[in-house]
Symmetry: C2
Subunit: 259 residues, 2 copies
């Protein structure tokens, strides 16, 4: 397919590379900043543009990979070209795009991307949705050229997935940060914790989290929890986090959801 | 070394197997329940016992791998044998064991263990501490027969590590559980989230968590955060968790700790 990428962020970068690798033609890369447009365009052999007037209609698909609150503005500016348009947002309903064009869809890669870290795109779950069956079929075909894990997911399900991803990715990463800071404050190398972080994520690849929960809260080890709260004595915020999550773990255990 | 394992839980199981594989002689396995003692003893070629009177003094090392609040009782019962005794607890000061015997140490494997999941013990950080330099040396030698990552860690550092491990392992696993439940409530396959969980942990193997934080909170995307809180509308507990952790992420970003 001939594809135009609108945006040059983390998702745009990894998605463009995967599409290029699969043999698709990335025609243009648009970004507000010419430097960002050029950097990504160079990597995928596309023309960089930073002006909507310079965007060509000679393409099969516009992929809009910009901040959620800019999607509709961008779509409105591209609508005149009468080409298929998809966004890559977990939180944005397909209906918002359909206010602009009936030729609309969603291509949402459910992964956390950083420009500096490579990702095996074949393993990235790709959630697709089309405004009609033909579009859904087209997007499914396209998706299968870059991922082994293409799922048809409607907007409501996608919003749930996006929310769940905050709990499964953004919040755990922040808890890693807290752990790293606790060690740094005591001159302890974060490398000591890295294998634990990795194994914690590996364990739930084959099992449910509730079945592999460990730690003082699930054991109802009140003595250790009290000692931990005391160690956090000078930080009311961390005490609140500790109490709230421990409470949840104890309730989970009580409700019999652990093995 | 001739080693006697007191306990048959997750840590005792994985530690015994690693020691056996390294060529050490597991003399006896003690557990209050004969069935548990027998199961582990069988795997490591030891004699199972469920009675302290049946524990032989013909050993070089007692490894006490029981609940934190039972360590001292167990140690007191073994003290008469006058052999080296170590516990495997993150939260217990070596001083508690030294009230019973001067021939005391700690062997704390910093990993999350489940009986049903194999672990490459060579990659498990092993935190050791001895009541004196000779004991520290002995434990370091022993540790290096089963792990490439042996660290000398004093009791205060170990308590910090144990607390940090709760934030880096137990709490993230519980957040995975919340995510899985959100999906289950909407009939969405947890497999869609598993690659994200794995990648989130992989990303911090080479970088600091603050440098790879993603999600609505670090972007200060108030619209998405409001939408998420609304989706959690019927669950005040989850709203509290969402608010508290998002607040922390926004403060982290403000303090310039993100890339």
């Amino acid at each position: 397919m001939r594809i135009t990428m609108i945006g040059s962020g983390n998702v745009a970068t990894h998605l463009s590379a995967a599409l290029k690798n699969a043999g698709h033609n990335i025609v243009q890369v648009y970004s507000r900043g010419m430097q960002n447009a050029s950097l990504l365009a160079y990597h995928v052999g596309a023309e960089p543009v930073n002006d909507f007037d310079a965007i060509t209609a000679d393409t099969d698909l516009f992929i809009i990979s910009v901040k959620d609150d800019a999607i509709i503005d961008v779509a409105a500016q591209l609508a005149g070209h009468r080409k298929l348009m998809v966004h890559t947002s977990g939180a944005t309903d397909i209906g918002e795009l359909m206010l602009i064009t009936g030729y609309a869809g969603v291509l949402y890669p459910l992964q956390t991307f950083s420009k500096q870290k490579e990702v095996n795109f074949w393993e990235v779950p790709l959630c697709i949705e089309g405004a009609d069956d033909d579009i859904t079929f087209t997007l499914k075909q396209l998706g299968q050229t870059i991922s082994n894990k293409v799922y048809e997911i409607d907007s409501l399900q996608r919003k749930t997935l996006h929310l769940a991803a905050v709990f499964a990715c953004n919040f755990p990463n922040y808890l890693y940060h807290i752990a790293q800071q606790l060690l740094a404050d005591n001159n302890i190398d974060f490398n000591l914790l890295r294998p634990l972080i990795k194994e914690t994520a590996d364990k739930v690849q084959g099992q449910l989290p509730s079945a592999v929960q460990t730690g003082p809260a699930v054991r109802k080890d009140g003595q250790t929890m009290q000692a931990h709260l005391q160690m956090l004595g000078d930080n009311a915020y961390l005490q609140n986090v500790y109490r709230l999550l421990s409470e949840g773990i104890m309730n989970m255990a009580k409700n019999g959801k652990t093995a």
